[in-house]
Amino acid sequence: MAIFGSRRFLSRSFWSLSPHPLRVCIVGSGPAGFYTAEKMLKAHQGSQVDIIDRLPTPYGLVRSGVAPDHPETKNVINQVSRVAQNGGCSFLGNIALGSSVSLAELRELYHVVVLAYGAESDRVLGIPGEDLKGVHSAREFVWWYNGHPDGRNLNPDLKSTDTAVILGQGNVALDVARILLRPTSELATTDIASYALTALEQSFIRKVYMVGRRGPVQAACTAKELREVLGIKDLCIHIKEADLKITPTDVEEMKNSRIHRRIYDLLSKAAVAGPSEPSSGRRELHFVFYRQPARFLESFDKMGYVSGVHLEKTALKGTGPGKQIAVGTGQSEDLSCGIVLKSIGYKSVPVDGLPFDNPKGVVPNIKGRVLSDNSGDPTLLENGLYVCGWLKRGPTGIIGTNLYCAEETVASVSEDLEHGVLASTASLPKPGRDGLLQILDNRNVRVVQFSAWERIDEEEKRLGSLRNKPREKLTTWEELLKAASE
């Protein structure tokens, strides 16, 4: 493919001529990390780029986030794995920034450190009952069905209830709803974790409520995913006519946003089309608009377990052109359920020594250059430290968004190398990969190189072929590390 083929231009940078290579460490092997590596290698031929990840497996959310029934989306792996096979680039798995190696150490070892470790925590609602059993974050649920080694112990209870509530109406909420509602025969031939498939086959969940605090015009999902969920076989879609009423401000909002216009159209059409007579046993998806969670209700007979959500009705309030927020109206209602999946967004976690904007959950930066504090003062830069992907922009955007994000970050690195802060430091040799491997060896950290990941990959594909699945993911650390070393 083009990007990895012969390059037309002579490299713009001088690393190939310089006596020691530019050492670059990228933390995180998701789309942001891989696209950064690709752009770095292209802009600075001869540089040595290491991508480290805390997992023995690469690809970040493409492996552990993208839904199992979306194999075409995962095609991107074919491209990015070619980056890892580029001579100048190494994938080094099973290395966690913060525990295996510190940020200060990486900055000592490398000229350039690009943090692209995503968002591995959750936004919280901060309402009573949030830690009741049966209230999970969508991230945990997604990790569970996608076989992330830190996700398999979730064991969501899908048997004691027929009703699930999903809070939020973004694409993750739609993924989760689809996995709960789609006929399991259609999931059986995907790379879904086998324990999750079994649990879903035995699931009693029939009704899913997807609750949004704003209206159908503001829904955060995208059209392809909505269309897909609306088309699930034998599924009754419920949308209240009254919720589809729109105001002149809504109309204005749609005029400025093609995607909101198209989402609203799809929802309106679905509301007109269904629901037909809800025949018994048919699964139901209810879109609930203008409701925000106020507290979770505890079950009377099962102490410590969730039995429903107390929802406050909302109304929209304009806060600026094209921007409306939800405000509580004081009226409320209860929605009974046995499981809640909070899908209100992911959140990044800081590591020691990293400037972090806690309320926003991102690293303060200007075009990918990490700033020393949250004051926004562009002159206070962390030399040689950059950021990309969800850690830079917050937890939104599709895979392709990270391509442009990486382009911007790498452009900043290039500028700094050419006539900025990096020009002087980059002329001194740095230990790079050898130094890192030395430190890790001293600490008995077992590094999983790309070739070892390929062994995991092969084993997963082999196991998958036995069950008519594209792969059967290894879902424990032990299995993964064992396959890596075989």
């Binding site: 037309r8 713009r12 095609n75 995208t222 093609r258 392709g400 442009y404 911007e408």
Partner: protein, 198 residues
């Protein structure tokens, strides 16, 4: 009105035919056509292309026009291919010839043009987004299907003449089409249109 509708139907048929035709076409034949490659290898010798992009833009264009004229003298080959010009992220114009029935995404990749295609043409990513630089050519294209529109919703730097490269299939009408590849670091100006945020 009626006429344009009819000609559109004709176009659709042609397009369907050419789609079918492609499945029988061997890639090797395409690879043997060196014109795109040749021009660009000359460009490699001009390192100033990058540094003085703006300044030599015009010259560069002239160069590519004359080059593709030369190429079109190639008799038979010409009938089965059309001329397509990609405008890269750096603003460089890259003229290539594309066999009928081939998608612009494949054509870009065959010619080492940096156009992403994360989902490999399965309408699941929008990274193959291209901007048709002339309204006239944009109007010759069949309307995007729902699934393409779904992905265009998410395309970076969407414009009025945006399409997905994996969905534009070479057909005779498109001979001479120019496609810009959007970049984070550059705004593409299309005749009469500006990029609009979404």
């Amino acid at each position: 009105m009626l006429i344009s509708k009819l000609s559109r139907v004709g176009f659709l048929i042609a397009k369907e035919l050419s789609r079918g035709q492609y499945t029988y076409m061997s890639r090797t034949r395409f690879r043997q056509m060196p014109c795109g490659r040749y021009q660009r290898s000359l460009l490699e010798l001009l390192p100033e292309t990058r540094a003085f992009q703006g300044a030599i833009f015009q010259k560069h264009r002239d160069f590519s026009t004359s080059a593709s004229n030369n190429a079109s003298e190639g008799g038979d080959e010409q009938k089965e291919t059309i001329s397509v010009t990609f405008v890269s992220k750096d603003g460089e114009e890259i003229p290539i010839r594309v066999p009928m029935g081939m998608s612009m995404l494949e054509a870009a990749h065959e010619n080492d043009i940096e156009l992403e295609g994360a989902c490999e043409g399965s309408l699941a990513c929008s990274t193959c987004h291209v901007i048709v630089m002339d309204m006239e050519y944009y109007n010759k294209l069949e309307d995007p299907i729902d699934e393409e529109n779904d992905m265009l919703d998410l395309a970076f730097g969407l414009t009025e003449t945006s399409r997905l490269g994996c969905q534009i299939i070479a057909s005779p009408e498109l001979d001479g089409i120019r496609l810009a590849i959007p970049a984070a670091t550059r705004n593409v100006a299309i005749d009469g249109y500006v990029a609009k945020p979404h």
